[in-house]
């Protein structure tokens, strides 16, 4: 039994108009997030993960960004691409909230934590000052920040990176969103803090039934946390599968490359494996499958045709010799 979708992205393309040829950073992407699940989105830097995340909330400045396609959200699958600015503001922070990579710079340095949190709570719930402050205090307690009352009166620079990310999580959850988009929320943190924050995210989102789109380039983190994993390469989805299936039987050569590139601590010291080549320039992508110049198993047709995502059960892959292996 699969849960109904909370977010359904259909044919989304994001292009940036700048000088020179327009680069399509996300191209014709379909992705569905089910209610209550944590979906991991992985890929190298520059593959379009963050652009995708920001385009869900229509946060990219347009121009230069140009979005086409549809983004359906919520029980009624409302099309966010057709939503007006007022509706969008209500969705942002209220129904879909977001956590960013850099906890050091994602909070405004000149306002106290309490000021920034209550602003959001009051905006979306219409609560009064005192009520909002109480809500914020409770959420700060739920992200296990000691002494939430004093944290409210602190400025961001008085908190550590981990504490700030907890503040971000508390803010993100404070208005009871249905969907949380976490864009590399632990990348900037120390490893020990990272695992605490991950555990916290896991507990809180699952306890509240908040669906989560978890973006990371760290496969280990994704394996720990996510129900399903989507792999992105150069603006396209190349593989989408339940976590155990993806990590157990990776079907796309790119996914396999990513997995092989993880150094294993227990193994004898060997040369680190890397995928040769670089992520293509979005303004000038290779024809056909965008991974083919770096692929060890490419066929002639890879340079000509774009492989479609095909399914074997729950495991989707966009490769001409994907499922055959």
């Amino acid at each position: 039994m699969t849960a109904p979708p909370i977010l359904s992205i259909r044919g989304l393309s994001v292009a940036f108009q700048s000088h020179g040829p327009p680069g399509r950073v996300v191209e014709n992407l379909d992705l569905t997030l089910r209610r209550g699940e944590i979906l991991g989105l992985v890929g190298e830097s520059g593959c379009g993960k963050s652009v995708l995340a920001r385009s869900i909330l229509r946060l990219l400045p347009a121009p230069p960004a140009r979005l086409t396609g549809e983004i359906f959200f919520g029980e009624n699958l409302e099309n966010l691409m057709a939503a007006g600015p007022q509706r969008l503001r209500a969705v942002r922070g209220g129904e879909i909230s977001m956590i960013f990579q850099e906890p050091m710079t994602s909070l405004n340095p000149v306002f106290t934590v309490g000021r920034q949190m209550t602003e959001v709570v009051r905006l979306h719930t219409g609560a009064g000052r005192a009520k909002a402050r109480k809500v914020c205090r409770d959420f700060l307690a739920s992200v296990k920040l000691p002494d939430p009352e004093t944290v409210l009166d602190k400025y961001p620079h008085q908190l550590s990176g981990g504490q700030r990310q907890r503040v971000m999580i508390a803010t993100a959850l404070s208005c009871g969103p249905k969907l949380l988009i976490a864009d590399e929320p632990t990348t900037a943190l120390d490893v020990t803090v990272q695992s605490q924050v991950l555990a916290l995210l896991n507990d809180l989102t699952r306890a509240r039934g908040v669906s989560t789109l978890f973006i990371s380039h760290d496969l280990g983190v994704v394996a720990q946390l996510c129900d399903r994993v989507a792999v992105m390469y150069s603006g396209r989805l190349v593989e989408l599968a339940p976590a155990e299936s993806l990590f157990g039987r990776p079907a796309h050569p790119y996914t396999r490359g990513l997995l092989e590139a993880i150094p294993i601590l227990s193994a004898p010291r060997a040369e680190l494996l890397a995928i040769p080549g670089q992520v293509p320039n979005p303004a000038d992508p290779p024809p056909g499958c965008r991974f083919h110049p770096r692929c060890g198993q490419r066929l002639d047709r890879c340079a000509r045709e774009v492989p479609a995502l095909t399914a074997q059960g729950e495991h989707w892959v966009a490769c001409f010799n994907g499922h055959d292996r």
């Binding site: 909330l57 946060l59 960013f100």
Partner: protein, 336 residues
Amino acid sequence: MSLMEFVFRRLAAMIPVVIGVTLCMFLISHAIAGDPAIMIAGPRASAETLETIRRTHGLDQPLYKQYFRYLSDISRGYLGESIRNRRPVLQDLKVFFPATLELTLASMLFCLLLGLPLGVLAAVRRNRLADHLTRLFSVIGVSTPVFWLGLMLLLLFYRHLDILPGSGRISVQFAAPSAVTGLYLVDALLDGDLGLFRDAARHILLPAFCLSYVYLAIITRIVRSSLIDSLEQDYIVTARANGLPEWRVVGLHAFKNSLIPTITIVGLSFGELLGGAILTETIFNWPGMGKYVVDSANYLDYPAIMAVALVSSLAYVLLNLLVDVFYALVNPQIRY
């Protein structure tokens, strides 16, 4: 450390600065050509008269003794006696300084009321028509010589359109308001004389704008660039992702951050203006410190010149202190 403690500490730190200023002023005024005794007595005075004047004014003493005498005088609030009109300089300053202060405050009002909104507009409408127009306005502002701008304003609004007065602080048919603050606009209101207030306001309009234009242009540019800088920060994306309306994102979250560089410029401009605007005050015949210092220089009235320099450097230092206090209020990362 509390804010008060910070302020007192900074005030104490001003003492060496002020001593340095007085020393420089003293040395420069004694290095320039011209014998003050002759200036006092006139060119046809006898040698004995000159000798007497030198003795009574302490001009025959060694330089360091003259300096210490000068220091002890100013520490008692005595700024010397004008060579030109034999009045204590302090008495003159009490007349001229409020005029300059009033003009400065009016100019700052222009800077803030026009500069902040224009800067915000330019930043929000970056690279669009409004931005280009404010850029043009600013470039004209920083590149127009003040004397030329003043003359053009006079030609247009006084001579051709004849809608604004061309000189002085008030029209001749009015008497000056009772000297409470020395600022005519404030004093007129305190007297409850709205006609006088209107007249004084009309008089200050042209010189204030003329004086403010350069600073207004700079402030507009600084607000624009620092706001653009703030708008590109991560916390702005956070604010938008949290659904805050755009006016709060720009007007609150970005603007408060962009105030930090803006305060510096506003403070420095204020300090510079307080020293008296020689050109503007001369063109508009505004009886302020700028005009006073020009007239004094013509007579080699060095007690007056030194007093003006002292007052303007004090004003500058005090405004810098004020800037630091504002910094601390706006930016919580600054601990004093």
